[in-house]
């Protein structure tokens, strides 16, 4: 980072420069002091000190080391002042001695990356599912509480309460800051991946609000998946998830029209897809698919890749996509997967075949109120020329859709089939 980046930029962009630093710093401090609140406070203080001092005195030769040392000193100061913490400091000091002295930071030396344990703590199954994503965005992506609140479409005060509650559980129930051992990893890693995937899907298809896509959120998820992949290079499902995100996110520019309305796959201008990102996604996918049984994210990524590689909907390898959905259903027997498979079957064998499969899913509780189900039915009914039934299904979808662009799109479809 050069001096001008710290001194000259607008506050928001300077904050962005520190974002990457933030997660690392926080993770290292949590490791050192075993207290998330304390680590968050002194991380924020160290960054604030840097923003104040560096423009005047210049950026130190090892900015990361400077931030770490400053934060650590502040933490120790605070522990000394605070009676409640005094006993803990004694314990920490003993533990630190046992672990050996902390080596001085050499200029240019890399800070150890302790973020992996923070990923596992934030996604711990003992935390409420809705709080895991919030905590991950806050601690690892370095978002502020108002930003996390906006990401979850809730008021800042609500989000502040949720984050406080989650942190209190971590501290009082003593959820550890540790990377699960190899025997626990298969059980715990899917939870971490699920958190990142949930952040991504909310970015890809917002559940509510004025916009169909929330690109900043999707990009945040990709950034976190990249970090996780660096930390766990041997875990192929991490590669699978990153590949899936890249291969889907590559279509972002073509997924909405000039007024923010959704553009479905068959009408997307494929020239506007991000081809370098598709290439990257395919390269990552190769890793995910190589050497052993594949996981669900890799299979989904492979389906996304088949779409990305096709010149248009007609020349898409639907037979292969249906086969991959069969594999996916075997791994994740979910009605949503069955819905997507039915749509692929409709493309391979015609709308009647797809509709028959959709109708088998009508009683699935998970699909009740899930507007893509009603939309898929409407689309197949329309293609079969059953306009009145199609209009009714579009109306069902309209009542369930969460974003305004989708509702506008559905109203146009209804008008078209009722003409």
């Amino acid at each position: 980072m050069d001096e001008r980046a710290a001194a000259g930029g607008a506050p928001a962009s300077v904050a962005a420069v520190f974002r990457e630093e933030h997660g690392r710093l926080l993770a290292a401090l949590v490791r050192r002091f075993g207290d998330l609140d304390l680590a968050e406070d002194v991380t924020a203080e160290a960054i604030a000190a840097a923003l104040e001092l560096w423009p005047v005195h210049g950026v130190p030769p090892n900015p990361g080391g400077w931030l770490m040392t400053t934060a650590r000193r502040r933490a120790v100061d605070r522990l000394r002042r605070d009676k409640a913490y005094a006993a803990r400091l004694a314990v920490l000091a003993v533990e630190a001695e046992r672990a050996g002295p902390v080596p001085p930071v050499e200029p240019g030396a890399e800070l150890p990356d302790e973020r992996l344990q923070l990923f596992f703590t934030c996604a711990h199954p003992a935390l409420a599912a809705e709080d895991r994503g919030a905590l991950t965005l806050r601690c690892l992506a370095g978002l502020t509480t108002p930003e996390v609140a906006r990401a979850h479409l809730v008021a800042t005060a609500t989000m502040a309460k949720r984050i406080t509650r989650a942190k209190r559980k971590i501290s009082e129930a003593r959820i550890p800051f540790r990377v699960p051992g190899p025997d626990e990893l298969p059980e715990r890693l899917p939870g971490v991946l699920q958190v990142l995937y949930s952040i991504f899907t909310e970015g890809y298809a917002a559940s509510a609000g004025p916009d169909l896509q929330r690109l900043d959120l999707a990009e945040e998820a990709i950034r976190l998946a990249r970090i996780l992949r660096r930390l766990l290079p041997a875990e192929r499902e991490v590669a699978g998830l990153l590949a899936l995100m890249l291969l889907v996110h590559a279509r972002r520019a073509a997924r909405t029209g000039p007024d923010g309305e959704p553009v479905l796959l068959d009408e997307q201008d494929r020239a506007r897809w991000d081809h370098p990102m598709i290439d990257e996604g395919r390269a990552v996918l190769t890793t995910a698919l190589t050497g052993g049984p594949v996981g669900p994210y890799a299979v989904e990524a492979a389906i996304a890749a088949l779409h990305d590689e096709a010149p248009d909907v007609e020349r898409t390898d639907w037979a292969q996509i249906v086969a991959l959905y069969d594999v996916l259903l075997g791994l994740v027997p979910s009605p949503v997967v069955a819905l997507n498979r039915a749509v692929a079957v409709a493309m391979r064998d015609g709308p009647a075949a797809g509709l028959a499969l959709l109708d088998e899913l009508t009683d699935e509780a998970q699909l009740r109120g899930y507007h893509p189900f009603a939309m898929a039915r409407a689309d197949l009914l329309q293609r079969l020329g059953r306009r009145r039934d199609a209009a009714e299904a579009y109306r069902t979808a309209l009542a369930q859709a969460g974003t305004e662009p989708e509702r506008a799109f559905l109203r146009r479809r209804i008008a078209a089939v009722e003409m």
Partner: protein, 115 residues
Amino acid sequence: MKYMLLIQANAVGADGASADCTVEDWMAYDKEVTEAGVKVSGESLADLVTATTVRVDRDGRRTVTDGPFAESRELLGGFLVIDVPDLDAALDWAARCPGARDGAVVVRPVADFGG
């Protein structure tokens, strides 16, 4: 750090065994927690039909009632207090508890008032 494992086992027979775990399972588990040096205390509770509830109202009047008779599956069959480093360790011991197999084990940190 101390955790209490509230063992919400399924209906247990007079011999202390339910359909999915035997008295031997419980004895083996008790031996494990004792030998690992994590057990602080623990008891299994007599059948719920023997339970009596006491309430004292604001005026100091005591009410004694028979029961409760829980209709749900979540009835406390016993407890175990263990002393382990963190929640993950506590959850591991809870998962190994025979009562978790067809019932549930609730893990509650024991409040620490700075003692």
